[in-house]
């Protein structure tokens, strides 16, 4: 993103306190303990332990793989010139929607949970923002900031 020319930019991303290396290390430690136990019991005849340990490790591996895949997810809004660009990344899929800054509308829609959904809409296109990584209060605050910058002629 061009930080220099942007009038406004916000990026929302999940908090991740474990590095990629840390994730690999955690899985390796768990696998080492679990497999050591399972192999030891298999060697004395209780081989039924091994497939259960294997299944368990598949579950653990997948859990860490899942959070690894989504650790780089983000949602961003970039306002630059007469364009408002909303970008979302989920795993490997990056989607982008561009609105005309002066035509776009910032909307809040009440969800059944009582929280507000933040939407940008223009010319029949609509996208929600901050649903995954922002709290309700953060979305409300962002909506306020966006309304000052979008849909108005400065």
């Amino acid at each position: 993103m061009n930080h220099v020319a942007a009038d406004f930019e916000i990026i929302a991303r999940p908090n991740s306190s474990l590095s990629a290396k840390g994730r690999v290390r955690a899985v390796m430690i768990i696998a080492a303990i679990s497999l050591a136990v399972a192999i030891a019991f298999s060697l004395i005849g209780a081989w039924f332990v091994l497939p259960f340990a294997g299944l368990e490790l598949v579950g653990i591996g997948y859990a860490f793989y899942y959070i690894h895949c989504h650790s780089q997810d983000y949602e961003s809004i970039l306002i630059m010139g007469d364009q408002v660009s909303v970008e979302k990344k989920s795993y490997k899929v990056v989607s982008r929607m561009v609105f005309n800054r002066y035509w776009a509308k910032v909307l809040l829609r009440l969800m059944p949970s009582g929280d507000q959904m933040l939407l940008l809409r223009s010319h029949g296109k609509e996208i929600d923002f901050g649903r995954s990584f922002m709290t309700n209060d953060q979305r409300l605050e962002l909506a306020k900031q966006l309304k000052e910058r979008v849909g108005v002629v400065s």
Binding site: A12, S17, V37, A46, D137, Q138
Partner: protein, 530 residues
């Protein structure tokens, strides 16, 4: 440019209401509440079973039930209390408090969390259903082998054993799913600034617990599956007549069974220092020493299992190894006890209900630990094994050390969870009735064990009559006093004096920075830990 960080919590924006809320919820607080409610219900179910047992033991001779039914009650009582009462209570606290304490908006894998809970009710039904089926003439009742499933008795047992095996599988899957979630949540979702060595002790304790579950559940799953194939598919893993080894089952079971004690107790050792520091109004003593001790106990828990069956016949070097390694656990445990006592030492103490339970817990759990040392001695164990001494010992460990710890935690966090204060007078009454009747129930059992009364037998010699009568009357008082606990929880959930955010004057930690009760999504701003 501005940026904001939060954890994934898009799973439950549009939460339904009514029954669907509870069936489909992925909210950590909802799931925590379900775990704790389930635990309370099963605590009452397991308690009712053992009161029937105590009623039978009130006098020598057989009064109320046949020995087969007595054995079923004993076994299912233990399985229910351990797997369906104590473990879900610890998991309930983890769900409620871990995200709040580490500054995460929810557990890392919320849908997995929901599945983990909803495996429990079917497991509990499987465990207890054979009782009902037997009333209609189907099968011969529930598992009657005790909670240990020992072969070859379990190979020869009725279909209650099969029900219990499938129940254990479901419980195991639930535990593993919970453990994966706890590990990923603690490691990956801590708030910025919350390094590992700044984590609350409860998070550390649960991390060790989750590792223990991951290491041992496959062994239990393998053991009961081998039992199942021995029963129905012609294998002879544990059948000596077919070349199998029944002792192998004991090794497999106790490789899981001994760490299971710590799986149940470690989470309590995690939150208890927090309760002690709150009501002592001074910082926790020896944080690092406690963390190291928790890991040391976790590691030792995996290598001491055979002390549960010293009397089965083992080579002397094996006996010595298991005796000394078991005794070695007392070292890190002594460090923990020292830290707990040092935390309250010269503190500005006040004895609200959670603190009453916490201090009572230190004393009574201490008795459980010390009597465990007696049983760790091979020579002494030869006398006490399979006696009521063992029963008294593990109830000091699991009821006083486990359930009374859970009660302390419930009273500590109930105002935070419900937003209302509980009835303090009833809480104190509950504590004193519980503590006194508990001791009156189990101290006589130490003497019965020392005098040679065997466990798991519904009849006994006349010489044991007085102690058994005292134990039974006290057990009923203990059981009935838990109704005060239930009433206090229910009335607190329904209303009462409004709780403040901090609830307790000396409370420290992120959970106390939130309103009582906390909002549906816990943190409206990412907390920064300094």
């Amino acid at each position: 440019m501005s940026s904001t960080t939060a954890a994934h919590h898009d799973e439950h924006h549009d939460h339904p209401t009514g029954i669907m809320r509870w069936l489909t919820t992925t909210n950590h607080k909802d799931i925590g509440t379900m775990y704790l409610t389930f635990s309370l219900i099963m605590f009452l179910v397991g308690g009712a079973m053992i009161l029937a047992v105590r009623a039978e033991l009130f006098q020598p001779g057989l009064q109320l039930m046949k020995p087969e039914f007595y054995n079923q009650l004993i076994g299912v009582h233990a399985l229910v209390m351990i797997f369906a009462a104590l473990m879900p209570a610890a998991t309930g606290f983890a769900n409620w408090m871990l995200p709040l304490q580490i500054g995460a908006p929810d557990m890392a894998l919320p849908r997995l969390n929901n599945w983990g809970f909803w495996l429990l009710p079917p497991a509990a039904i499987l465990l207890t259903l054979p009782f009902t089926l037997a009333l209609f003439g189907i099968g011969d009742g529930a598992i009657a082998t005790g909670w240990t499933f020992y072969a070859p008795l379990s190979i020869q047992g009725g279909m209650g054993v099969d029900f219990a095996i499938f129940s254990v599988h479901l419980l195991g899957v639930s535990s593993v799913l919970g453990s994966i979630n706890v590990i990923v949540t603690i490691l990956n979702m801590r708030a910025p600034g919350m390094t590992l060595m700044k984590m609350p002790m409860f998070a550390w304790a649960w991390l060790v617990t989750a590792f223990l579950l991951i290491a041992t559940i496959p062994v239990l799953a393998g053991a009961v599956t081998m039992l199942l194939t021995d029963r129905h598919f012609g294998t002879h893993f544990f059948d000596a007549a077919g070349g199998g080894d029944p002792i192998l089952f004991q090794h497999l079971f106790w490789f899981f069974g001994h760490p299971e004690v710590y799986i149940v107790l470690l989470p309590i050792w995690g939150f208890m220092p927090q309760i002690l520091q709150t009501f002592s109004r001074k910082p926790m003593y020896g944080y690092k020493a406690q963390v190291v001790s928790l890991w040391a106990i976790g590691a030792l828990a995996l290598v001491v299992w055979a002390h549960h069956f010293f009397t089965v016949g083992m080579p002397v070097p094996a006996l010595l190894y298991f005796m000394y390694s078991t005794m070695a656990i007392s070292l890190p445990l002594a460090v923990l006890f020292f830290c707990w006592i040092a935390t309250i030492w010269k503190g500005s103490l006040s004895f609200e209900t959670p603190m009453l339970f916490a201090t009572g817990w230190i004393v009574l759990f201490g008795i459980g630990g010390l009597t465990g040392l007696v049983l760790a001695d091979v020579a002494a164990d030869a006398q006490y094994h399979h006696s009521y001494f063992v029963v008294a010992h593990f109830h000091y460990t699991l009821f006083a050390g486990g359930m009374m710890g859970v009660m302390s935690g419930v009273y500590y966090w109930l105002p935070k969870m419900t937003g209302h204060m509980f009835n303090e007078r009833l809480g104190k009454l509950h504590f004193w009735l519980t503590a006194i009747s508990f001791n009156l129930t189990f101290i006589p059992q130490f003497f019965l064990g020392l005098a040679g009364m065997p466990r798991r037998i519904p009849d006994y010699a006349l010489q044991f009559a007085e102690f058994n009568a005292i134990s039974t009357v006290a057990a009923f008082v203990l059981g009935l006093s838990q109704l005060i606990f239930v009433y206090n929880i229910v009335s607190c959930a329904r209303g009462g004096k409004k709780a403040t955010d901090r609830v307790w004057e000396g409370a420290e930690g992120l959970e106390w920075t939130l309103p009582s009760p906390p909002p549906y999504h816990s943190f409206t701003e990412q907390p920064i830990v300094k």
